[in-house]
C-alpha cells in the first residue's frame, strides 16, 4: 500500500497556509530599501495630442522626485519588434510615454515619482496636462461595414476553417430554421490584486522586477529588448499572483514605467495602478455574433453558419478563436464560419478567461437552444442527436472525448428528466418562475515546451524548480504532488519553486496548458533524478537493486524497490547517506510529442445545467443551481480542479447577468471603471454548484494524460443561464448581460 501516491487526490494547497496568513508575497509587497513611489496620470481624452505638461508645478513640491512623460523619456529601442511580447497580436504595440499622441482614453501620459505613495498620488492629481482633442470612434455598431479579416499574428490564433457543403441551400430547404444576432459588451478581467511592480535597484544598472505577470520570461525578454539590458541584469520574479485571467499575459505599461523610473533614477521604485486604471490595458472585446442554423425533420443539424465581429485597437489586430468551435462541437455537413475585427479608438483587447470560446459558446449555445425549440426537441436530446464523433474542422478523430458521458451524468445529477419543455411551465412554491437551461463547449488541450530542475539533499528533501506561475490555479500544489509521487516522497519533503527568471524556463501561465506543460517537465525531471538515485543505490554494498533497470523499479514510501518484489527495497535516505553526496541534481524538459499528436484532435469538453428563478414582479434573476460536467482528461487534484470549475461557473454567471464595461461614446471612455459599477458576482449571488469530472484516459495529449481545466469550465455557463431565463420567462434575450430591464 503506497502512501506517496498523490496524483488525483484532493490534496489541500501547499501554499494555503501562506495565503491565509497574509505571508504570501505579491508583486507590490516586497520590502525594498530606499523605495520611491510612482503614480500614473491617465488621459481623459480618447484621441488627440498632448500639447503641454506642466511638470514644473509639481516638481516644485518637496519630495516629488521626477515627472516622466514623452518630453523626457530617454531614447529607447526604436523598432516595433523590440516591443513585441510573446503573445502580442499583429500590429504595432503600444509604447507608453513614447510621443504626444493619445490613442485611447486612460492612456498613461505621465508617471509621477515621489518619496512616498501619498505624495506621488497628490502630485499626480495636481499635474496639469493640456490636450488637443480629435474626434474619436469607440462604437462597434457604427463600424459593422468596416470589419476585416485579420491575418495570423498572435500565437494560437487560427483563422476559421474553409466552408464545407452548401450551408445556404441546406438552410433554405430545411424544415426547422433560426437566425439571430447575439451581442455582449466589453468585459474586464479585474483580478483582485492591482497591477503592481516593485523594481529593486541592485546598483550598476542591475534590477530585479517583482511584477504582477503570468509570465516572468515574457516580461524579461520585453524589458531586456526595450531597455537594452542583459538578461542577468534583469531578473523578473512573481511568486504569487492575485489573479490573472489573462490580464497578465502581456507585459503591462506598469512594469515598463516602473523599470523606466528605476533605471533613470538609479533607485528602487514601486508602482501600483488604481482599480480605475485596470480598465485601461485590455479586455474581452465587445462582440457581435450572427448565427444561422437549420435542422432536418429527424433533429439532425442541416446547416450551421456562425459569423463574429469584434473590436480591436487602431494599432494592433487582436484576434481570438470565436467561431471555429462551432465547426467541431456538433456533427454538421454544411458549415460556414466567418470572423472579422474592426478598429476603434480603444486599447487593444486582451485574452480573458477562455478567450473566443467563452464568447463563441454564447452565440452557438443559445442558437442551439432556439433551434431545439423550433424543432420541438428537448435541448439535451437535440445535442445528443448531433454528437460529433470526429472533429470535422480538421477531419481527425478526437484523442479522447467523453462529452456524451458528461451529458448523461450531468443530466442525472441535475434531474433534467423532470423538466417540462414549455417556457413558463415551471414554478416554485413561492410562485417564482423556474427555468432550466443547458450550454457547453470545447477547448484546446495543448502542451508547451517547459523545463525543470530537481535536487535532493542527504536529508531526503527534494526541491523542484521551474519558472512557471501561480495565479490561483494550484501550480504549487499539483507540481509538488507530481514530484512527490514520482520520487515516492512524503509531500512535506518536497518544495516547488516557481515564478523567477533564475529558474528553468516555463511557458506563460495561460491557455490551460500549465498542468500539461510544466507537469510533464517536472515528471521527466524527477524521473531523471530517480535514475541517478538508482545508480547510487546500485553502488551500495549488497544492493538488492544491483541488476535493476530504471523500468524495473518504483519509488514509493521513501524507498526504491523492485516492481516485481516490493521486499527488494532500499531506503532513499540510506542511499543518499551511503553515497556521500550532499546533493544530487537533475534537469530535464518536456516538449509535446508532435508526431503522435498531429493525427488527433486534442480537446476538453463540458456541459452546464443551470436553474434560474425569476421573480416576475421585480424581474430579478437568481441562479439557484448549476451542474457543470467536465471531461478534461486526468484530474491531478480533485480539490483545486473543482475550485477552478466552481470559479469558472461564477465567471459564467457574471458574464450572463452582470458583467459589462459600458462605453460612453461621447467621451470614448468606460464609465463604470470601478468595482462598485462593474458588477461581478458576490457571495449572495452564488448558490449550489456541483462539479462533475468525467475522467478520460488519454495517453496522446501528454504523458500525464491531463488536458487542463482553467477555461473549459466557463464554456456554456452564460448560455445555459440565458437559456434558463428563456425557459422560465419565454423571453429570449440575445444581448448579454441579461438584466432586469431586458425582461420587462
Amino acid at each position: 500500500m503506497s502512501t506517496t501516491n498523490y496524483i488525483g487526490k484532493p490534496t489541500s494547497r501547499v501554499d494555503g497556509p501562506a495565503k491565509v496568513t497574509g505571508t504570501a508575497r505579491y508583486a507590490g509587497e516586497y520590502a525594498v530599501a530606499n523605495l520611491a513611489y510612482g503614480y500614473v496620470v491617465s488621459s481623459p481624452i480618447a484621441k488627440g495630442k498632448i500639447t503641454k505638461i506642466h511638470a514644473d508645478e509639481v516638481l516644485a513640491l518637496p519630495g516629488v522626485i521626477q515627472v516622466f512623460s514623452h518630453e523626457n523619456v530617454p531614447s529607447l529601442a526604436w523598432f516595433d519588434r523590440s516591443y513585441k511580447d510573446l503573445v502580442a497580436p499583429g500590429g504595432s504595440p503600444f509604447r507608453a510615454l513614447h510621443d504626444a499622441e493619445i490613442k485611447f482614453s486612460q492612456q498613461p501620459v505621465a508617471l509621477v515619482v515621489a518619496e512616498n505613495f501619498e505624495l506621488a498620488r497628490y502630485a499626480a492629481s495636481l499635474l496639469r496636462v493640456e490636450y488637443e482633442q480629435e474626434a474619436h470612434e469607440t462604437n462597434l455598431e457604427t463600424q459593422r461595414a468596416k470589419g476585416y479579416e485579420p491575418g495570423r499574428g498572435k500565437t494560437g490564433f487560427q483563422p476559421p476553417p474553409p466552408p464545407r457543403g452548401n450551408p445556404d441551400k441546406a438552410w433554405e430547404e430545411a424544415p426547422h430554421r433560426m437566425e439571430a444576432e447575439y451581442v455582449h459588451g466589453a468585459q474586464h478581467h479585474n483580478p483582485m490584486e492591482l497591477f503592481a511592480t516593485t523594481v529593486e535597484w541592485r546598483g550598476d544598472g542591475k534590477i530585479t522586477a517583482y511584477d504582477k505577470t503570468q509570465g516572468v520570461y515574457n516580461v524579461q525578454q520585453y524589458l531586456t529588448k526595450i531597455f537594452g539590458l542583459k538578461k542577468d541584469d534583469c531578473r523578473v520574479v512573481n511568486e504569487y499572483m492575485g489573479g490573472g485571467f489573462g490580464a497578465g499575459l502581456r507585459p503591462q505599461y506598469s512594469v515598463f514605467l516602473a523599470v523606466l523610473a528605476a533605471l533613470e533614477l538609479k533607485r528602487s521604485v514601486r508602482l501600483t495602478l488604481t482599480r480605475q486604471q485596470m480598465f485601461s490595458f485590455g479586455h474581452r472585446p465587445h462582440t457581435l455574433q450572427y448565427l444561422k442554423l437549420a435542422a432536418n425533420a429527424d433533429g439532425s443539424l442541416a446547416a450551421l453558419q456562425h459569423h463574429a465581429l469584434h473590436e480591436t485597437s487602431h494599432f494592433e489586430d487582436y484576434t481570438e478563436n470565436v467561431v471555429n468551435w462551432s465547426g467541431m462541437l456538433y456533427q454538421c455537413e454544411n458549415v460556414k464560419l466567418g470572423y472579422q475585427i474592426a478598429k476603434l479608438d480603444v486599447y487593444t483587447p486582451l485574452d480573458m478567461r477562455a478567450p473566443g470560446a467563452a464568447s463563441g459558446s454564447v452565440g452557438l449555445e443559445i442558437a442551439m437552444d432556439e433551434l431545439a425549440y423550433e424543432a420541438g426537441l428537448d435541448p439535451l436530446e437535440f445535442r445528443l442527436r448531433n454528437y460529433a464523433e470526429r472533429d470535422q474542422n480538421q477531419d481527425k478523430p478526437f484523442s479522447s472525448k467523453k462529452l456524451r458521458e458528461c451529458y448523461h451524468q450531468g443530466a442525472a445529477k441535475f434531474g433534467w428528466d423532470q423538466r417540462t419543455q414549455a417556457p413558463r411551465s415551471m414554478r416554485d412554491a413561492d410562485g417564482k418562475l423556474i427555468g432550466w437551461g443547458i450550454g457547453g463547449g470545447v477547448w484546446d488541450a495543448t502542451q508547451q515546451k517547459s523545463a525543470a530542475k530537481a535536487s535532493i539533499t542527504a536529508d531526503g528533501k527534494l526541491t523542484v524548480l521551474s519558472g512557471a506561475g501561480e495565479n490561483g490555479a494550484g501550480t504549487y500544489t499539483i507540481m509538488t504532488q507530481i514530484a512527490a509521487e514520482t520520487l515516492g516522497l512524503p509531500i512535506e519533503a518536497v518544495t516547488f519553486k516557481l515564478g523567477d527568471t533564475e529558474l528553468p524556463e516555463a511557458p506563460l501561465q495561460g491557455g490551460s496548458w500549465t498542468a500539461a506543460s510544466v507537469g510533464t517537465a517536472v515528471k521527466n525531471t524527477c524521473e531523471a533524478l530517480g535514475e541517478k538515485l538508482l545508480k547510487l543505490a546500485q553502488k551500495m554494498d549488497n544492493s538488492p537493486l544491483k541488476d535493476a533497470k530504471p523500468e524495473d523499479v518504483e519509488f514509493v514510501n521513501g524507498q526504491i524497490r523492485l516492481r516485481a518484489d516490493a521486499n527488494q527495497a532500499v531506503v532513499l535516505r540510506d542511499v543518499l547517506q551511503a553515497s556521500g553526496e550532499t546533493k544530487v541534481e537533475a534537469d530535464s524538459s518536456a516538449m509535446p510529442n508532435m508526431l503522435k499528436q498531429q493525427q488527433y484532435s486534442l480537446h476538453s469538453h463540458n456541459i452546464v445545467f443551470a436553474e434560474v428563478k425569476v421573480d416576475e414582479e421585480l424581474g430579478t434573476i437568481h441562479v439557484t443551481r448549476v451542474v457543470n460536467a467536465v471531461a478534461a482528461g486526468r484530474i491531478l487534484n480533485l480539490k483545486t480542479a473543482r475550485s477552478q470549475v466552481l470559479g469558472s461557473v461564477v465567471w459564467g454567471i457574471g458574464m450572463a447577468l452582470m458583467e459589462e464595461t459600458v462605453m460612453d461614446h461621447k467621451f470614448g471612455r468606460y464609465v463604470n471603471h470601478n468595482f462598485a459599477e462593474y458588477h461581478v458576482p458576490v457571495n449572495a449571488d452564488i448558490h449550489d454548484i456541483d462539479v462533475l469530472f468525467v475522467e478520460e484516459e488519454d495517453d496522446i495529449v501528454n504523458p500525464l494524460g491531463v488536458k487542463g481545466i482553467g477555461e473549459v469550465g466557463m464554456l456554456g455557463v452564460a448560455a445555459a443561464v440565458a437559456n434558463a431565463v428563456y425557459h422560465a420567462t419565454g423571453k429570449r434575450v440575445r444581448d448579454l448581460p441579461v438584466m432586469i430591464d431586458k425582461l420587462l
Binding site: 508575497r25 496636462v129 482633442q133 504569487y240 483545486t640
Partner: protein, 179 residues
C-alpha cells in the same frame, strides 16, 4: 474639433504644499508602533507601506471590494476608507494577528480545508470579515452568511468554499457560550 481639457483640479500657478508628518501611535496585533506619517495616510497604506504588514490587501482603495478588511476593536472595517491617525488608542487586528502558518486560526484552517480561495489575494480580507461576522453574532444560516460576506469580492469565485469554511467555524463557535 479642438478643446483643451486638463487632468487636474488644480488651477494654474502654485500648488498647496503637502501636509507635514507627525507621530501616530497604533496598536496592531497587540504591539505598539509609532509611525512618522502625514495625516492623510490611510490605515491600509500605513499597514502595507510603513509597517510592511502586507497581509492586508489593496484591491480598489475605494471600499468596494473588501480586500483591506481589518478588525478595529473587534469590528470589521475597510482600512482603505479610514485614516491611520483616526485609530490611535484602538485595538487593530490584521490577518497577521489571527494566526501564523505554523499555528493557524480556526478560520484560516477552515479556509485551507475547504479550498476557500485560489489566488489568495482577497483571502485575508475574507477571513477578517468572517471573524467580524462571528463577533457580530448575526449570521447563522447559509443565506445570512452569504449576505453578510458579500462585501468581500472574490474574483476567483471561491464563494462556495468560503461559505462552507465560515459555516463550519460559525457552527462550532455556536456550541460554545458567547462571550
Amino acid at each position: 474639433m479642438t478643446q483643451q481639457p486638463t487632468n487636474s483640479a488644480a488651477s494654474a500657478g502654485g500648488v498647496a504644499a503637502p501636509p507635514p508628518t507627525g507621530p501616530v501611535r497604533l496598536t496592531i496585533n497587540g504591539e505598539e508602533h509609532t509611525l512618522q506619517i502625514a495625516p492623510w495616510t490611510t490605515l491600509l497604506d500605513a499597514l502595507r507601506e510603513y509597517l510592511h504588514l502586507t497581509g492586508t490587501k489593496k484591491g480598489c482603495d475605494h471600499g468596494q471590494c473588501g480586500a483591506c478588511t481589518v478588525l478595529v476593536d473587534g469590528k470589521r472595517i475597510n482600512s482603505c476608507l479610514t485614516l491611520a491617525v483616526m485609530h490611535e488608542g484602538e485595538d487593530i487586528t490584521t490577518i497577521e494577528g489571527l494566526g501564523t502558518p505554523e499555528n493557524l486560526h480556526p478560520l484560516q484552517q477552515a479556509f485551507v480545508d475547504h479550498d476557500a480561495f485560489q489566488c489568495g489575494y482577497c483571502t485575508p480580507g475574507q477571513i477578517c470579515s468572517a471573524q467580524g461576522l462571528i463577533n457580530e453574532g448575526k449570521a447563522r444560516t447559509e443565506d445570512e452568511i452569504r449576505e453578510h460576506m458579500s462585501g468581500n469580492v472574490c474574483r476567483c469565485g471561491a464563494y462556495v468554499g468560503i461559505l462552507n469554511a465560515v459555516k463550519e467555524v460559525v457552527d462550532k463557535e455556536s456550541l460554545e457560550p458567547r462571550k
